[in-house]
């Protein structure tokens, strides 16, 4: 049972209050670990599922769309269960144990889209972190600032033509890294 009211968790999550985040992990992660490990998963799988769920809730909370009709704990655990079972189905994994009495609630069905977005974006930012530093910089400057290519080239100490080609090569490499990851194929299926 949750120790605090829903608003405490929702608002704390939205504002990323460290005390609230720690409380969410302390109180609810062990339950998710128990469920995942009893359903063909590992502690690392449970960690990934839990963090994806918290991140998806954050996305909803920051846009003001988060509506928790049940207790926060129940809501979060249901999201994690649904997320894990979907991951198992995507991997076409035949679970060693499928509890007959397990029924995953469809009341958290509207979390599917933010969860998929979370998985997709997490994959892309992981691959981005694998690029060389100058690649990361030229793509960041191009995508997340209003700088034109001439200014970016000057900042990087490159010619304009080189900067255009380099940026394109870096982006192609990033796209290749993403597409070659099995998770990308699973998410598209």
């Amino acid at each position: 049972m949750a120790k605090h009211p829903n608003e405490w968790y929702a608002e704390g999550l939205r504002s990323q209050t460290p005390e609230v985040l720690r409380s969410i992990f302390d109180e609810f992660l062990p339950m998710v670990v128990g469920f995942v490990c009893n359903n063909s998963g590992t502690r690392e799988d449970a960690r990934d599922v839990f963090m994806d769920a918290v991140e998806a809730l954050f996305r909803k909370a920051k846009t003001g769309e988060l509506v928790v009709t049940s207790a926060f704990s129940t809501f979060l655990i249901e999201i994690c269960k649904r997320h894990w079972l979907k991951k198992l189905r995507r991997k076409k994994f035949d679970a060693e144990v499928t509890p007959d009495e397990l029924v995953v609630s469809n009341t958290v069905g509207d979390m599917d889209i933010p969860l998929e977005m979370t998985e997709r974006y997490k994959l892309m930012s992981e691959k981005f972190a694998l690029l060389q530093k100058d690649c990361q910089m030229v793509l960041s400057l191009s995508w997340h600032t209003e700088m034109g290519m001439e200014d970016i080239a000057e900042q990087m100490g490159w010619t304009y033509g080189y900067a255009r080609k380099r940026k394109h090569a870096c982006k192609e490499h990033l796209i290749t890294l993403v597409k070659n990851d099995q998770r990308y194929q699973e998410l598209r299926a």
Binding site: Q16, P18, L21, R22, F25, D26, L29, P30, M31, V32, V33, G34, C37, R43, A46, R47, M51, V54, E55, F58, R59, K62, R120, Y121, K122, M124, S125, F128, Q132, C135, L139, S140, S142, W143, H144, E150, M156, G157, W158, T159, Y160, G161, Y162, R164, K165, R166, H168, A169, C170, K171, H173, L174, I175, V178
Partner: protein, 328 residues
């Protein structure tokens, strides 16, 4: 539309930089072309995923909390004196003592096998380095283009100490055009140069009539007006004092004057400049290809260098050039 231009258009679309008419046309194109729509969606996701600072902060916090919790959990179990059999990693999962013993035994067995078979203390013979079959055979006496001595031992600049206006001598063209393969390499190099230098040349300033232009600006203007001999004359100074920009410009002017040896000399000087090294590698390659052909050791080295890095900005240009070299 070339891929680079397409990607730039996609980004312009996603950043709302297209005019209303361009935007409508692009959206119509996406509706008619599912592959384009998928590419646009991927670009949108990449731009969004890498720009969510708040989400990245949240992930970092969560990772840190998880690491601390796991460390505390293990520490707590140690303090209570729990045995390996009873040790729980939290949440009810027990580690099998039997599995640990079996894993340790397997590791020891593997170690014994590895030591018996591999014998790491013995010297292994050097394996011959296989040459990629698309490149001409490597001359065993070839020197590394990065060699300090090679960089220092440059052909003399035609303008060094020479006060007379530059007159194109066409030495390289004569040298390389005596054979059919030489002429073919020359044509390949010139064609590849034409394609790759177009966009760079288009960025040079032209049409400025202000009399207070610097020498470099005058040279740029001269280049834009295709007066390459004037560029060389304006920049005819001791190369050590010439800026990388000017050296680069002069190298291109030499190339267009078909003085490939001089062009190569200038591009070679820029190999260690962070801003120009990749361009210098490519244009040095083309200059040497035009001057000496594909069997030259330095050409082979440059081909290998550019080919091995798929992030090299001229990697795709090289991929287009290689089949032509191979089919000579």
């Amino acid at each position: 539309m070339k891929e680079l231009e397409l990607h730039e258009k996609i980004e312009a679309y996603l950043k709302n930089r297209l005019s209303p008419e361009e935007r409508a046309a692009f959206e119509a194109e996406m509706n008619a072309n599912p592959e384009l729509a998928t590419t646009v969606a991927l670009h949108r996701d990449l731009m969004a995923a890498t720009g969510e600072k708040d989400v990245l902060d949240l992930r970092r916090q969560m990772e840190e909390i998880y690491r601390e919790q796991t460390a505390e959990d293990i520490e707590g179990r140690k303090k209570t004196g729990a045995t390996v059999r009873e040790m729980s990693l939290g949440g009810g999962m027990s580690v099998s003592f039997r599995r640990i013993v079996m894993a340790a035994a397997a590791a020891v067995l593997l170690g014994i096998v590895a030591v018996t078979v591999w014998k790491p203390w013995q010297q292994l013979p050097e394996a011959p380095i296989a040459q990629p079959d698309i490149l001409p055979s490597v001359d065993s006496a070839s020197t590394n283009v990065q060699d300090e001595n090679r960089v220092a031992d440059l052909p003399p600049s035609p303008t060094k100490g020479n006060k007379k206006p530059y007159q194109p001598q066409f030495p390289s063209k004569k040298q390389n055009s005596t054979s059919a393969s030489g002429s073919r390499y020359l044509a390949m190099a010139e064609e590849a140069y034409q394609k790759s230098s177009e966009e760079w040349a288009g960025t040079l300033k032209s049409g400025v009539t202000d009399g207070t232009l610097s020498t470099e600006e005058k040279a740029q203007q001269g280049f834009a007006q295709k007066d390459y001999a004037a560029v060389v004359n304006l920049l005819s100074t001791d190369s050590d004092t010439l800026s990388p920009v000017s050296t680069y410009l002069r190298g291109h002017a030499y190339f267009r004057l078909e003085d490939y040896a001089a062009a190569a000399a200038d591009f070679r000087k820029l190999l260690r400049d962070n801003g120009y090294s990749a361009d210098a590698e490519w244009y040095l390659l083309l200059s040497l290809l035009a001057e000496k052909g594909a069997d030259d050791p330095e050409v082979k080295q440059l081909l290998k260098q550019i080919r091995k890095s798929d992030e090299h900005p001229y990697h795709s240009d090289l991929q287009r050039l290689l089949p032509k070299i191979r089919s000579r």
